[in-house]
């Protein structure tokens, strides 16, 4: 007891002594420092699909539309839009008097240039083009009006225009300096402009006073690349970063206990399931698949392994997702019934269930072991096979070489079930190595051609219900997005997709 008060006194003294020294050098007035895990290497919007790119890029660039933490779509560089010619043409009115950071004006030509580049040869080199293939081309109507001519219907397009590959880039700057230079010296119309970039270390931004939505309240935003979660937390505790984006669930209590920090845990896009092999093994039988779902106590896993930072799911999407059906409930945990179902299906005790998973994920490693524990209690013989992620994702899954179950984690920033469901369940897709279900294919294709929001939502809900009915997967949970944040930050609205936009944030 005595020892601990002495220690406390000592650490206070140390903190008091160090504070005036450390504060000015680490945090100038009005600077926020954020730690991200990965350095995307290139800041060109068409070069990446990394969330960490967007954590930074969302401050440098603007899209025609915008979506904030409230998930509502609002005008960005376009002030309004209308659908013409039976939805095959979308007309955007552009915001006037907008400037890029280098002084270049934003206009219809910039929009056309951006999408010609994204859909052309330069875009082909990156991973973004395929998300925007529904656009045929962009036509300039007048300097402040553009038409998107569609190749096929795409109800999610407006959302997709709010981020990643659809961020508007400056034509003259790119033509003069070239793509290579642009990768490391990005210029956009966003609230912060690029200052300097040291690969694998940090990227520095400063406020762009001429931003169309007004001058942002901070002077500077610094993003540091720190891959190791323990390091991010240590830096956060030391006050050298303000926001940590990489906090494993097991370490959440460490942040929670710190009086200077707050832990933010909000619904995120990431959903995790065990997909089942419908072609081989005991999981061929739909009743066995249902028994496996019922035999795993998903609530207990969320409570014990995720420490409550997650929600049970009935389909492979978060409750923020378009296509979510609140009336679709997960199958309940019922060990006795599951055992009985297995028996009725003629499954022998000790039947093998192999779970293939990405070996680098600490949280799922625990989840998989817990799930295996429940399968053991069902009388089955589970085994776990960790893989290097590229091997699992590029060979084992697409070539149908998985065991009875495999680890499936997904988190689309668009929060639309279409993208997920189509890639997961449509015949011939990479993530669907085992099934060819004409009924499911038809449903998935039909919803892609429908712009009517209500009708499309109903169709997507039907897809979710059908998948649940076929028990194609064991839906485990929707895990929360977690941030550790220094309490000196004010007005910080945490985005569940981690696409920060520091326009209103202030610091003490």
């Amino acid at each position: 007891m005595k020892m601990s008060t002495t220690l406390k006194a000592l650490s206070f003294a140390a903190a008091a002594a160090l504070a005036p020294l450390a504060a000015p050098q680490a945090q100038a007035a009005g600077t926020v420092t954020v730690a991200v895990a990965i350095d995307p290497g290139s800041w060109d919007p068409i070069d990446t699909f990394l969330v960490d790119w967007s954590s930074v890029g969302n401050n440098i660039f603007d899209g025609l539309t915008a979506r904030g933490p409230d998930m509502k779509l609002k005008p960005g560089l376009a002030t309004s839009w209308e659908f013409l010619d039976n939805n095959s043409r979308i007309r955007f009115k552009l915001r006037e008097n907008v400037k890029f950071h280098n002084g270049e004006p934003f206009n219809a030509d910039a929009v056309k240039f951006t999408f010609d580049r994204l859909l052309g040869d330069e875009g082909k080199k990156g991973p973004q083009q395929s998300n925007y293939n529904s656009i045929d081309h962009v036509e300039v109507v007048d300097p402040n009006t553009v038409d998107f001519v569609m190749k096929q219907a795409d109800p999610v397009l407006l959302t997709k225009l709010a981020g990643y590959g659809a961020m508007i880039v400056p034509p003259k700057y790119l033509q003069e300096k070239g793509d290579e230079y642009f990768n490391t010296h990005p210029v956009g119309t966003g609230p912060y402009k690029f200052v300097s970039y040291e690969p694998k270390v940090s990227i520095n931004l400063e406020a762009f006073p001429e931003h169309w939505a007004g001058t942002p309240k901070l002077d500077k935003v610094v993003f540091r690349m720190i891959a190791e979660a323990n390091t991010q937390i240590a830096e956060l505790q030391a006050g050298r970063i303000d926001i940590a984006t990489q906090i494993p669930f097991g370490l959440a209590p460490t942040v929670e206990k710190d009086p200077k920090l707050s832990l933010i845990s909000i619904t995120g896009p990431t959903v995790v399931a065990l997909r089942l092999n419908t072609k081989n093994g005991i999981t061929k039988d739909v009743n066995v698949r249902k028994a496996l779902i019922m035999g795993i106590d998903r609530e207990a896993i969320i409570k014990a392994v995720l420490l409550g930072h997650g929600k049970p799911i009935a389909s492979f999407q978060a409750d923020l997702s378009f296509g979510y059906d609140p009336n679709l409930k997960p199958l309940p945990f019922d060990l006795a019934k599951a055992k009985q179902m297995l028996q009725q299906a003629g499954v022998q005790p000790g039947a093998p269930v192999k779970i293939d998973f990405r070996g680098n994920e600490a949280t799922f490693r625990e989840v998989a072991q817990a799930a295996a524990g429940f399968l053991q209690a069902l009388g089955l013989k589970p085994s776990l096979q960790p893989y290097e992620p590229p091997v699992l994702l590029n060979d084992i899954i697409p070539n149908g070489k998985t065991g009875e179950a495999w680890h499936n984690a997904w988190g689309g920033w668009t929060f639309d079930y279409d993208n997920t469901a189509y890639l997961m369940y449509h015949s011939g897709e990479k993530w669907n190595p085992y099934d060819k279900d004409p009924k499911l294919d038809a449903l998935l294709e039909k919803q892609r051609s429908i712009y009517d929001v209500k009708e499309r939502e109903k169709l997507l809900q039907e897809v979710a219900r059908y998948v649940a009915d076929q028990a194609l997967e064991i839906p485990l949970y929707n895990q929360n997005t977690i941030f550790g944040v220094n309490k000196r930050l004010k007005n910080f609205e945490p985005p569940s997709d981690r696409r920060f936009r520091f326009t209103d944030v202030t610091v003490e």
């Binding site: 072991q369 960790p386 091997v391």
Partner: protein
Amino acid sequence: MALAQAAPASRRWFRSFELVLGVVLAGGMTLAVLFSGLLFPDGGESMDLMARLLPPFQNPAHILGTDPLGRDVLARVVVGGRISLTVGVLSVLGAVVLGTLVGLVAGYYRGVAEIVLMRFADIQLALPFILIAIMFLAILGTGVDKVIFFMIIAQWVQYARLVRGSVLALRDREFILSARAIGVGNGRIIFQHILPNVLGPIVILMTLNVANNILLESSLTFLGLGVDPLIPSWGGMLADGRTYLQSAWWVSVFPGLAIMFTVLGLNLLGDWLRDYLDPTGQTSR
């Protein structure tokens, strides 16, 4: 004068201390592992999500506490030794058999066989181990059998070079020449006259390599390239405890100590054996 006499005495004492500690540590761990089935019939696998991360030395049912899934750490440490010792011993035995054969053939027959085999060994020595391990296991998949197989492939070279060197020194000695002169066959010369004379250094290298391979298995499993995480193993337990280093040290510290004591014990034994078998170190016996 007094000093000169004191030195061997203290060394002798140290040598026997080395032996005793080595036997106690390595032997104790081996015994515990051999009887782990009786001590912990559940194999350290029974899970209780409501009793997760219990601290050690507080609950008589979990003397060393529980891990993030509520499994008994003591049971898993003891049972986990099975994998470590199996991998350590089997991989070394495999590498010894393969390496010794190659070394004997290369050293005794020389010629083309020696050039081909030894250049092959040189190439392999030039490859970085962990990198090759990651590639190899990423392609073949993981599992105890593959880890053992890989270690054999990676380590036979050491034995081959060691044996070849000894054979080169022996093959022209008088007793071999006389054996050949009275018409003893090559096979018999190799296995009856040469092999017993090269066994000493092999045995020493073996003890050190068992220790080394236990560490390697733990590293590979820690990296997710080793054995099934469901099977208790020391490396796997370290990986499980990694996120909890700040909040629940016991999850990773106890398997870490188990690795440390086993490896230390084996190394002490190896040191003692080296001195015991080394003909020039007679005084220290």
